[in-house]
């Protein structure tokens, strides 16, 4: 059987499984729709959280990104796992004790203010939509590359599946499908990783394999550093970026992780405070399986790439090169006209490839059969453009693994994208039906009315997400930094202060959130959209890139919030009592 047949089998049967689970776990009340009736076991919640958290970016994108960044890629590894320690120690148990359904709920009650609640609603919706756009695009890429269906059709199929289980099942349906999706995605991630590790280092555990030796008896990492130098790249195992920038990006990703509403909301679904604590541990353990394999995959992929492609003539290059060229994710421009692929540091041309085509739509090809690109030239001699996103998806092909492994990776990528999309859509729907409708506009709404509103909001959010996936705005990648910066500079400080300080009040929260948000937004918008040509270390504030600026926004939020709280009157007594009660697991 070929790859495509295997892919249809894996994708089809995993989709059928998700829908079956959705029917089995339909939500019948708002409590079930928002927080799965608070009856999820800690291990199941850990798995669901892991699937919720690990998105198309973690599954498809991260290892590829690391393989191009080398040591600097560790900011993602530490940033996206370290946040769980903060979540477990500073947020999860207390928010579970609070027990209401959403993050804006907590902000609204703790700061006795509808304004604060509305600011939180806007942040939650913005962060979630930013993220969802990326997931749907991931779905589209997998469908177009492996099933050769149109991206639009791929996104519509994905939407249909998410629609079924998110709208029917709410949090309950999402939780149990996420458990299944975790199993699918981790299996799909580990199988090729184990194969690669065996091939390159002769060790079945990738975590150990990339510290092992290759067939020639050389350390895998030393061999890679050697290849990097030969081709004119910097060392793989040493940092290139400035220390302050690495620390700030890591910190912003950690704090952003801890402030993401779709992750926080998962800790409302368990029965007790102690279950919330332990499910954070399970979640990180399940996440760590993938996150400790990713750097190994990055090293194997980079080694494979550097050993097999540079110096080859285009005609003799491995077949995956032209396959991904057809998907628009690889391009080769023969600067020196010798027919061989010269790969070194620097860009091959300006921007992402835009291919030349004949008037009838057929691609225009050069003398070696390569697709021609019309992008402007840049200085430098590098001839190869490789989209970082393809490394994980192309890995099984690069390593020559059997077709079913390649198909498995496609199903895993879809599981990662769909599970995250569903979690995000639930945040949007509960923000609309619970916080806007029930909390602000129509407090008298009946339980059934609210449940119907939640379903309509979820349906609407799915359609919006699909549209964003079909017509992806150019700035998707740019706004991901935004989602984390925003979560770090808005939610994290006010939630932490809301728990650990009885003096922090409404005025402090509103001023703090606003200052943190405005500063972070302004900085990112300036460097990403208004003045992108100055987006480099010479112009950055203290040498901190837009990806890491959330840290400064967060500090600003803390400082202005505490200052304003000190100058205004303390919170009312019932709020102080609320704070006391969320600090104690039992009683009260």
């Amino acid at each position: 059987m070929d790859v495509q047949a295997w892919t249809w089998i894996f994708v089809g049967s995993s989709f059928a499984l998700y829908i079956a689970i959705a029917f089995w776990s339909r939500a019948r009340s708002t409590g079930e729709f928002y927080v799965a009736g608070k009856h999820v076991s800690p291990i199941a919640n850990g798995m669901a959280t892991a699937a919720d958290w690990m998105s198309a970016a973690s599954f498809i994108g991260m290892a590829g990104l690391i393989s191009f960044l080398g040591a600097d890629g560790a900011v993602y590894l530490m940033g996206w796992t370290g946040g769980y320690v903060l979540l477990a120690l500073l947020l999860a148990p207390y928010l579970r004790k609070f027990g209401k359904y959403t993050v804006p709920d907590f902000v609204g009650e703790r700061y006795y203010s509808q304004t604060a609640r509305l600011v939180a609603v806007v942040c939650a919706i913005f962060i979630s939509f930013t993220y969802v756009a990326g997931q749907m695009r991931g779905v589209g890429i997998v469908f177009s590359r492996f099933l050769e269906v149109d991206i639009t059709l791929g996104v519509i199929i994905g939407m249909g599946v998410v629609f079924t289980y998110a709208v029917l099942g709410g949090m309950k349906g999402i939780t149990y499908t996420q458990v299944a999706q975790y199993c699918v995605l981790i299996f799909a991630y580990m199988v090729p990783a184990i194969f690669l590790s065996l091939m390159i280092a002769g060790n079945p555990l990738p975590q150990l394999g990339f510290g092992g030796a290759n067939e020639a008896g050389l350390w895998v990492l030393d061999r890679l550093d050697g290849l990097q130098h030969e081709l004119g790249f910097s060392s793989y195992t040493e940092y290139d970026w400035s220390m302050i920038n690495i620390a700030c990006i890591t910190g912003a990703l950690m704090l952003g992780t801890a402030g993401l509403p779709h992750v926080i909301i998962r800790f409302y679904t368990v029965r007790r405070v102690r279950d919330a604590r332990i499910s954070a541990g399970w979640a990180l353990l399940f996440i760590a399986v993938l996150y400790t394999s990713a750097p190994a995959i990055a090293v194997f992929a980079r080694t494979n790439l550097l050993e097999n492609v540079p110096g080859q003539s285009y005609a003799n290059a491995p077949t995956w090169v032209s396959a991904w060229e057809d998907s628009g994710l690889i391009a080769w421009r023969d600067h020196d006209g010798n027919g061989a692929i010269h790969y070194t540091d620097g860009s091959a041309f300006k921007g992402k490839p835009s291919y030349e085509a004949h008037p009838d739509g057929r691609p225009m090809r050069g003398e070696h059969g390569q697709r021609l690109v019309k992008n402007d030239d840049v200085d430098g001699v590098n001839e190869l453009y490789i989209d970082r996103d393809i490394m994980v998806l192309a890995n099984p092909e690069i390593a020559g693994l059997p077709p079913w492994v390649i198909a498995l990776v496609a199903a895993g990528g879809l599981a990662a994208a769909l599970s995250t999309a569903a979690g995000l859509l639930l945040v949007v729907s509960s923000a609309v039906s619970h916080d806007l409708l029930k909390g602000t506009i129509a407090p008298q709404i009946s339980e059934r009315g609210e449940l119907r509103a939640a379903r309509i909001a979820a349906a609407f959010a799915v359609i919006m997400a699909g549209v964003l996936g079909i017509y992806p705005p150019d700035y998707v990648a740019a706004v991901v930094a935004f989602a984390f910066g925003l979560a770090a500079s808005s939610f994290f400080p006010v939630i932490v202060m809301g728990i650990f300080s009885k003096r922090f009040n409404r005025e402090g929260a509103i001023v703090g959130m606003t200052c943190g948000l405005l500063f972070t937004t302004a900085y990112i918008v300036w460097f990403k959209f208004i003045s992108p040509e100055t987006n480099n270390a010479d112009h950055w504030f203290l040498g901190i890139s837009p990806e890491g600026i959330g840290i400064i926004g967060m500090l600003l939020n803390f400082i202005t919030g505490i200052g304003v709280s000190m100058l205004t009157s303390p919170p009312p007594d019932d709020v102080k009592k609320l704070v006391e009660s969320i600090r104690i697991p039992g009683e009260g």
């Binding site: 320690v85 148990p93 092992g212 030796a213 895998v220 890591t250 102690r274 954070a280 541990g281």
Partner: protein, 89 residues
């Protein structure tokens, strides 16, 4: 002890646990994984090709994060019982 005093003492103990665990958290990630990494890279983990700083950033810090949460859970469950604030089933 009055319930109020007991709760305050419990929360104080809780804060101490958080402070110690977060200090370790910061030391392995920002310390060993980032600021000390270039220096740690002069050493290798015996029997492997890993430079120590690179390994801490790519692997070691993540293992410690997982351990920290499970240690936290274990300590807190004991504290809950010691101060009589555990939840009923």
């Amino acid at each position: 002890m009055q319930p109020g005093d007991r709760h305050r003492a419990y929360f104080k103990a809780n804060l101490k646990v958080i402070a110690v665990l977060l200090a370790i958290w910061a030391f392995v990630s920002f310390g060993c994984g980032i600021f000390l990494a270039p220096w740690l890279n002069e050493f290798r983990i015996p029997g492997t090709g890993f430079k120590l700083g690179f390994w801490m950033a790519n692997q070691g810090s993540i293992y410690v994060f997982v351990l920290l949460i499970f240690i936290y859970v274990w300590i807190m469950n004991r504290l809950d019982r010691a101060y009589g604030v555990e939840e009923s089933d």
